[in-house]
């Protein structure tokens, strides 16, 4: 079931293009990561689908069956003079949720003992956790999270990541914008990479990484091996740095083919390392 359909949205701020003709479809149960360097249009895109930013053109459409949505956009926004409980009472009234659920989400985010503290007295990490409690209030079917681990310590990051994974396991759809590639790689099923407001790559994260396996090899006849590999044209990319040869296998070749290639040319490989490329490597390549 399609949850969100974004069709050709664009947004400019003066001469700056924030989002350019962006289209995405997100299905139920997906954990959809939106990646991109600073200024790539992630937050603007989320702002548009959350109704706080008006697109110049294009449209977006949430599935009519979605009746609850929890979202965190950029920084947490609360009344500093109100306590955690009072701030969440406002959200509960907006979401039309019973006040008794406030304790449940505060407990989940380890903030229950601070429920009567004023918001201004919280640390940055606690503020971020309160924002997540706000998102989870009312047990929404869809979560939209913009940099949810901002300001959190390593334990906090791990806890939030676990919460996202747990929520995803319950079948929720999660849209997650982050520049923490490790976070996206560990939690997302799908990813869209933005660059200067445009989607430059999108799809299932496994698909995106699977085809990008690489090998690092070396031999006593490194120069000859390198020349043969390049001349063969069988491999997507062959590089040589110092005494190591880097081979991008591409879609049709695998590590066995490289071994056989060396054997066929009477070259004994002294080093043979298989590398599954990380999202980070891919991402940096894409946005370069």
């Amino acid at each position: 079931m399609e949850i969100l359909n974004i069709e050709g949205i664009s947004k400019t701020y003066g001469a700056n293009i924030a989002v350019k003709n962006l289209s995405l479809k997100i299905n139920a149960g997906e954990v959809y990561g939106i990646l991109g360097p600073n200024g790539s249009g992630k937050t603007t895109t989320l702002g548009i689908i959350l109704g706080v930013i008006r697109p110049d053109s294009g449209f977006y459409e949430w599935n009519q069956k979605i009746n609850s949505l929890g979202a965190l956009l950029e920084t947490p926004n609360f009344y500093p003079y109100l306590s955690l409980q009072q701030n969440l009472e406002i959200t509960a009234l907006i979401k039309q949720v019973d006040f008794s659920e406030i304790d449940v989400v505060l407990e989940k985010l380890a903030l229950l003992d601070r429920k009567h503290s004023k918001y201004y007295s919280l640390s940055l990490g606690m503020k971020q956790r309160l924002a997540l409690a706000n998102v989870l209030l009312g047990n929404p079917q869809v979560l939209v999270l913009d940099e949810p681990t901002n300001g959190l310590d390593p334990q906090g990051i791990a806890d939030v990541r676990q919460i996202i994974i747990d929520e995803a396991k319950t079948g929720k759809t999660i849209i997650l914008a982050s520049h923490l590639l490790d976070e996206v790689e560990k939690t997302c099923t799908h990813v869209a990479v933005l660059k200067k407001g445009e989607v430059i790559k999108k799809g299932a994260i496994n698909e995106l990484l699977k085809v990008k396996r690489s090998l690092i090899v070396s031999s006593d006849e490194n120069e000859r091996l390198f020349e043969l590999l390049v001349r063969s044209g069988l491999f997507e990319k062959v590089d040589k740095k110092e005494d190591l040869i880097y081979i991008d296998l591409g879609d049709n070749m695998n590590s066995k083919d490289v071994n056989e290639f060396a054997f066929k040319h009477n070259i004994v490989l002294t080093r043979f390392e298989m590398h599954e490329k990380s999202l980070e490597t891919e991402f940096l390549k894409m946005v370069k």
Binding site: G47, L50, G51, V52, I53, R54, L69, G70, A71, L72, L73, T75, N77, F78, Y79, P80, Y81, L82, S83, Q86, E89, I90, T91, L93, I94, K95, Q96, N134
Partner: protein, 270 residues
């Protein structure tokens, strides 16, 4: 209770600035009113207490209450501005309110303040009038001044709401609100010098006309002095807008300012 109003009440209930400002204003309101009722000149032919008797008291109290409009405007600017400064207005939309509901919640807050100010005005007038008047035969004469005060206070707060939605900044909104008032005063002075009546149609003037001060001649009990003052005032008096037009124009301005606030909320990014 209405959900949108409940949201505004949570923000108000625990907001110290609101209680401090309201407490100070209410204290001054009672204190000044009490002090005013204690003043009396022992001069033959002049009776100051006429302003505290029915039916004149309704106009006197409406005029006096309108002095505190600035405080109500300040509260609207601060409370609306807070939502922009803390970016909670944005969070409310993210959490599920639409912009129309946000506007309605602000409108309800403005009406709530106007109703409370109206009630304070009414009970003060009734209380003071009851003390200074023998009998209640004239109690309902001129009571329409309480309704005029309601329109007056609503008008001032509609300007405050528009400015705060337009500027999204508390300090700038206060400066612009006071600046607009001063600018209108200057403009009115200029029009008056040019012998033009345009100044009467400017918003602050239209609203303040609703709660004008009761005539000074009301305190003069000597018929001879009263007649001579009336004659001199007739020759000197400037054009005055008929009450019906004044009320209609006020309602037109209020509707216009509310609509502009709504339009800005709808059209702009949060």
């Amino acid at each position: 209770m209405n959900r949108l109003l409940q949201i505004e009440l949570v923000k108000l209930k625990y907001y110290p600035t609101f209680w401090i400002l309201t407490g100070i204003a209410f204290g001054f309101y009672v204190l000044i009113l009490y002090a005013a009722t204690q003043i009396n000149f022992d001069i033959k032919g002049i009776d100051l207490h006429v302003y505290f008797r029915f039916p004149v008291v309704w106009q006197s109290i409406a005029y006096y209450s309108s002095w505190f409009n600035l405080l109500l405007a300040l509260l609207i600017i601060i409370l609306t501005g807070n939502d922009f400064v803390f970016r909670t207005i944005r969070q409310h939309v993210i959490d599920g309110l639409n912009k129309q509901e946000i506007f309605i919640s602000k409108l309800q807050m403005v009406f709530l303040f106007a109703v409370v100010a109206f009630a304070v005005n009414f009970f003060s007038g009734f209380f003071v009038g009851s003390i200074f008047t023998d009998g209640y035969s004239q109690v309902f004469n001129d009571i329409y001044f309480v309704a005029l005060y309601f329109i007056n206070v609503l008008g001032i707060m509609s300007i405050a709401l528009l400015i705060s939605v337009l500027l999204k900044n508390i300090a700038a909104s206060i400066v612009v609100f006071i600046g607009m008032y001063i600018f209108e005063l200057i403009l009115r002075g200029y029009f008056a010098l040019m012998s033009l009546n345009f100044g009467q149609f400017l918003p602050f003037k239209v609203f303040s006309n609703l709660c004008s001060a009761p005539s000074l001649k009301k305190m003069i009990s000597d018929p001879v002095i009263k007649q001579s003052i009336e004659q001199s005032m007739q020759t000197a008096s400037a054009w005055e807008m008929p009450l019906g037009i004044n009320v209609s124009l006020s309602i037109f301005y209020i509707a216009g300012f509310f609509y502009l606030s709504y339009y800005l909320l709808q059209k702009r990014d949060l």
